[in-house]
């Protein structure tokens, strides 16, 4: 493995890291190292071998992010992982976006070598079918995950409400917080498994998509995905965004 990543993970002992710090580094690596690398290998001067290795790097970078999310996912941490202060609000990615992205990369018309420009021209029926199959699988899996989350939230509310009248009569503020704290803990413990399953789905979708693509197609797809994440953090865009008074303007 090339240096930028291995240097991050090559310590002997497990390293305890603030997730915020991890995310900042992960994002910087994506933006400053891996995105330029894949662009470079998509330009005319690059070799096939380099392209393969950069696709691999970028793919692993995305997968490692979800692995790290899983590692951090505990009952205590989950709420902050779900609603992170280190993200932009508008940056949350959705599984189904990956498929949309793949089908759209076809319209990219940047000045690039012929193989790259042709990578998404005349996409074979076979490939279209495979991508649609992946999307179809997703559309089956996502509602199941959402419904599990919904049930957990309803369970939490039910549990709190059923105890409420009894605690409320005792007028004991501490007891109220204990009961709610317990119910919340239980809900989060179960929600961790939904979260991990959702990450597994994200990983498998990206891997499956890259698996059915050619090297050029995969490179363009991953470039698009990286660009999507990086684009949201464009400082100039964020400034304009903050300034924008009316959503109708």
């Amino acid at each position: 493995m090339p240096k930028p990543l291995s240097s991050l993970f090559s310590r002997k002992k497990p390293e305890k890291l603030a997730f915020k710090y991890y995310y900042t580094n992960w994002f910087k690596t994506l933006k400053n190292t891996l995105l330029p690398l894949i662009r470079q290998s998509l330009s005319s001067s690059s070799s096939q071998t380099l392209l393969y290795s950069h696709v691999d790097l970028l793919l692993n970078h995305f997968l490692s992010y979800y692995d790290t999310l899983d590692l951090a996912a505990s009952q205590e941490n989950l709420p902050q992982l779900l609603f992170p202060s280190w993200h932009n609000n508008e940056e949350d990615d959705d599984d189904e976006e990956f498929c949309g992205l793949v089908l759209d990369v076809a319209s990219d018309k940047q000045r690039r070598p012929w193989q790259v420009l042709m990578a998404w021209k005349n996409v074979s029926q076979n490939l279209t079918t495979r991508i649609e199959q992946i999307e179809c699988g997703l559309r089956l899996m996502v509602p199941a995950l959402i419904s599990r989350m919904k049930k957990l939230q309803a369970g939490f509310m039910g549990r709190v409400a059923e105890n409420w009248v009894a605690i409320d009569r005792k007028n004991d503020g501490v007891l109220k917080e204990v009961i709610i704290g317990e119910a919340m803990k239980e809900e989060m413990e179960e929600m961790v498994s939904v979260f991990v399953d959702a990450n597994r789905l994200r990983k498998s979708v990206i891997t499956e998509i890259v698996g059915v693509l050619s090297a050029y197609q995969a490179a363009l797809f991953l470039e698009g995905l990286a660009q999507f994440l990086v684009g949201f953090r464009d400082p100039e865009l964020l400034r304009e965004f903050e300034r924008c008074k009316d959503s109708d303007q």
Partner: protein
């Protein structure tokens, strides 16, 4: 305002006065007689108590104008007390209406996006700690169906409700009505979720931020975001309206006056308690144990 608030209450009171008075611990035992003529029943009981009291002290007195005068005085006092209760009930009804109006204004006017950044702010509000959001949030606030889960949970746990339910006509929280409202709200909720999923799934097509798109016209990335956010804004507005709809249906259709008041009190109390529990936890640092092995080694 007052006049409009009173009319339905008056109707309500005529229909339910017997039940209400039982709740106040006043009269009522037998519904059959009340149905025929409620007022008479009350008068009879009052009369009965008065007689018992007077029988011991004034036995032997002749029927006289004095006695009739006392009887009238007694009636006036009793009626005055009843009227006081009636007025209190009107006031309560006005308070409930006022509370609903506050929620209407909150969900339909105050908490809707005005600026572009409000959309993101409302979806992931900074004023709500992550534990509170994770425990119950749906598009940034309570799930409309959670409001109904709360009613159902309160109904199950409230001993006063279950004890009165057997004596009066069915449960004071009408389970059948509650289920009906629950179904309706859940369907609406699912539709809104579907709309949001569709926006998210498609937004990647428009928000690619490729250098090419950015150069095409000045600020076009922002233009794309605006377009997408406008769609999300519509979803948020619908979600807020549905929250209010759930509240309104529960309070006006499902719950009695007494239970509506209990519900509002519990709703505020639970929101506050959840916030109290969640708030200190937002300061926790999220740590992760990174594996010792490098990605390359196995």
């Amino acid at each position: 305002m007052k006049g409009t608030a009173r009319r339905p209450i008056l109707n309500y009171f005529v229909e339910n006065d017997l039940e209400e008075q039982e709740k106040d611990g006043m009269v009522m035992r037998c519904t059959e007689r009340e149905d025929a003529d409620g007022t008479t029943t009350i008068v009879e009981r009052v009369h009965c108590t008065t007689q018992c009291k007077h029988e011991t002290t004034k036995r032997g007195e002749d029927i006289s104008g004095e006695k009739y005068y006392q009887w009238r005085q007694e009636q006036k006092t009793r009626a005055g007390r009843l009227e006081k209760k009636l007025r209190a009930s009107w006031e309560l009804e006005e308070l409930i209406e006022e509370q609903l109006n506050r929620f209407r204004a909150h969900y339909n006017n105050a908490m809707v996006p005005i600026q572009l950044k409000d959309v993101a702010e409302l979806l992931m509000p900074k004023w709500t700690p992550p534990h509170e959001l994770a425990a119950l949030s749906w598009l940034g606030d309570w799930r409309p169906s959670a409001i109904l889960d709360l009613v159902r949970g309160l109904n199950r746990s409230s001993p006063s409700v279950s004890s009165s339910s057997s004596s009066v006509s069915g449960s004071s929280v009408n389970e059948r009505l509650l289920s009906q409202v629950m179904n309706e709200i859940r369907i609406d909720e699912a539709i809104i979720e579907e709309e949001m999923a569709e926006v998210q799934a498609k937004c990647v097509l428009h928000l690619r931020f490729t250098p090419l798109i950015k150069k095409k016209s000045r600020g076009s990335a922002l233009g794309f975001i605006q377009e997408e956010f406008r769609k999300i804004e519509q979803v948020i507005v619908k979600a807020q309206q549905l929250r209010f709809k759930a509240l309104e249906l529960v309070v006006k259709k499902v719950l009695s006056q007494h239970d509506a008041v209990e519900f509002f009190v519990a709703f505020a109390g639970i929101q506050d308690a959840i916030h109290q529990v969640a708030e200190p936890q937002k300061l926790r640092k999220v740590m992760v144990n990174m594996p010792a092995k490098s990605l390359g080694s196995s």
